[in-house]
């Protein structure tokens, strides 16, 4: 390493053709959302009494939570196991998790029939409900993520508070508040970091418990009492691929050089995790004898095979190959496959596997539901771009820090 890495706001033009497309997608979602809030959920979704949950729960919530897992796995690795080398991914992963959970919360809000009562779980507790646990953990964890984000804000603004005109008298007190916050936070941050990891393991697994109660309404290929464990391990396993996936995407779109060494070291941990996941899945299938359902060809068995072969087995093999780990393109493909696999797994669990006995028709998301979900993802990407351009999130080689390392050419201790 020739320069020390230092988180820095990325200076770039904000508006690009891609950004314009994202803005249009976001606007489109707003139109459908207006319909939803004025005329009810039934007016623009394909949900009915047989299919109470659609893609807003399966994608916005279940996939959202799973794919934001990079936040807690990287925190565990960087802060708790304390691996210095992974410091550079901590902030981008934190931002993704923070935005991801915000997206989850908004997804729930939109899907709730009585969205204005979203705070009810805070006062009406039902300990037997896994949804209650998920709800409460997600609320607390989102708050924790915002707290973890605060030091980035204080770092950006300390000594830079510069309000103009009539508000300028606030500059000194604001700066003092920021400094006070900063000092307090650096002392207590470890509590929030650990809490974040604990909360994550809790709700990542409880998300799997959600569908257990649906019992016989769920296809036996997915319905198993070990669902919580499978959900937890797949969330842990998808954390690093998600970080790899978005680091490579972001560095491409922002024109930066990706940290290949760090990313391939992250990738090295994915293979073994996938092995554990696959082993549990296979043992569970063997014990319950559900492999018989794979002998018939139907939507369920095809989706199951897609999920396991494309999303687990192929990337598993790829992540064990040095060639893949060191190639930007192959690593990107392998990481994308795991992300895709978990995405498909959540959709399978919440939608494909859900086969209610009295269904009059099959559920397929309406244009409105799809538009809203895509619009939310577009907003998410836009916010990510805004944040990395405004706050010190992404680490780039810092010229100012060069003198320190100028003579350390052997830099990379192996």
């Amino acid at each position: 390493m020739e320069y020390l890495m230092n988180p820095t706001p990325i200076k770039k033009k904000f508006i690009t053709p891609g950004v314009v497309v994202l803005l249009i997608l976001a606007l489109n979602a707003m139109v459908f959302l207006a319909i939803r809030f004025f005329f009810g959920i039934g007016s623009m979704t394909n949900l009915d009494n047989q299919h109470p949950w659609g893609i807003w729960i399966a994608i916005d919530v279940a996939c959202g939570v799973a794919l934001a897992a990079g936040g807690f796995t990287s925190a565990a690795l960087g802060h708790i196991i304390h691996k210095e080398e992974f410091k550079v991914i901590l902030r981008p992963a934190l931002i993704t998790a923070m935005l991801g959970y915000t997206f989850v919360a908004i997804g729930v809000f939109v899907d709730l029939g009585r969205y204005y009562f979203i705070w009810h779980p805070l006062i009406f507790w039902n300990g037997t409900s896994p949804l209650f646990e998920v709800g409460l953990c997600v609320m607390i964890y989102a708050t924790v993520l915002y707290i973890e984000f605060l030091p980035i804000v204080t770092e950006r603004f300390i000594g830079h508070v510069n309000l103009k005109g009539r508000l300028s008298f606030l500059n000194v007190p604001l700066d003092a508040i920021l400094r006070f916050l900063d000092r307090g936070l650096s002392k207590t941050m470890f509590v929030f970091i650990i809490a974040g990891v604990v909360l994550s393991t809790l709700h990542q697994s409880s998300l799997g418990t959600l569908m257990v109660i649906a019992g016989p309404k769920m296809h036996p290929l997915w319905q198993t009492p070990v669902l919580p464990l499978l959900f937890l391990i797949s969330a842990i396993a998808v954390g690093f691929p998600m970080i790899i996936f978005e680091s490579l995407l972001a560095s491409r779109s922002l024109g930066l050089k990706p940290e290949m060494k760090v990313l391939s070291n992250l990738g090295r941990m994915v293979g073994p995790l996938l092995v554990i996941y696959l082993a549990i899945k296979i043992i569970d299938m063997a014990i319950r004898g559900t492999y018989v359902y794979l002998t018939e060809i139907n939507t369920a068995s095809v989706m199951f095979m897609l999920e396991v072969v494309l999303g687990v087995i192929i990337p598993l093999r790829m992540f064990f190959s040095e060639k893949v780990l060191n190639s930007r393109l192959l690593l990107f493909i392998a990481a994308s496959l795991v992300v895709f696999g978990v995405f498909l797994n959540r959709i399978n669990n919440f939608l494909v596997a859900y086969t209610p006995p009295y269904a009059l028709n099959k559920y397929f998301p309406s244009i409105g539901e799809i538009s809203v979900t895509i619009g939310f993802i577009a907003i998410l990407v836009l916010l990510y771009r805004v944040i990395v351009m405004f706050f010190p999130v992404i680490s780039i080689p810092d010229k100012k820090l060069m003198p320190k390392t100028k003579y350390a050419i052997r830099g990379e201790e192996k």
């Binding site: 009810g40 037997t128 809790l202 418990t209 109660i213 019992g215 016989p216 073994p272 995790l273």
Partner: protein, 299 residues
Amino acid sequence: MGFQNRRDFFKTSLLLTAGITGISSKKNKAASLDGPSENRMGVLVDTTVCIGCRSCEWACKTTHGLPTKPIDSYLDRSVYDKKRRPDEHALTVVNEYDNPNNPLLPTDVKVQCMHCEEPACVSACIVGAFTKHPEGAVTWDTDKCIGCRYCMVACPFQVPSFEYSKAVQPKIMKCDFCFERTKEGKLPACVEVCPTEALTYGNRNELIEIAKQRIKRQPDKYYNHILGEAEIGGTSWLYLAGQDFGKLDFPKLGRDPAPGVTEAIQHGIFSYFIPPIALFALLGSVMWINRSKNNGEEK
């Protein structure tokens, strides 16, 4: 370096998963209530007696203030061409099925909430909006509900429905066992109106006795099973039929209460908050050890 990372990482993640699985395998009692009380009420539906007049549908709508056509229109039997389900416009519906024993006398089956003894909806609801009353009824509280529709996912009989067309205060709709009426000592509206006594309201234990006697007295007429006596831990509403219940669109359910597995997992993870706190402590010490180790090496 890479190797070192991996090993450390595994140590920890193994501990994590071992902790969580160990905890959740612990068995807990799944009952939300301590078994059915002695004065638990129920309704026995004898489908062999039901003539499919659908008076119950009319009475149910009328008492619950739901819009309904005049009672005369209920004589029209063409509704039986299609199978219907209770929904937000009708808390109970009657469906008609062929009768293999006597083609001239079709089997009519009234459908509504079964008022489970260990209801999945009560266990699942995120805010505890459902209540199982000691007298048997399972009711829903509009002041708590947030409209997440998890109760609909959970109910094994697929009963609760949702007012999808309402933008504000949509309700979860299902049969409430005429809770307000029975509190005043009145019969449930559907039971009161039934002209053939296909519906019998009474103490659940006594109803089971009556049902057993009917089967014993006319073994040719009845299929030897009381649906709801044992299914998913029992239900307050019980059914008798002249043929296999599977042919009458009843879901195939085991004897275990629907919320059993989830509640075992939930209680395991949350027993007195010990597991989460233990995990917190574990991670805290891992963090502390690694931090001091690293500091020692580097500085």
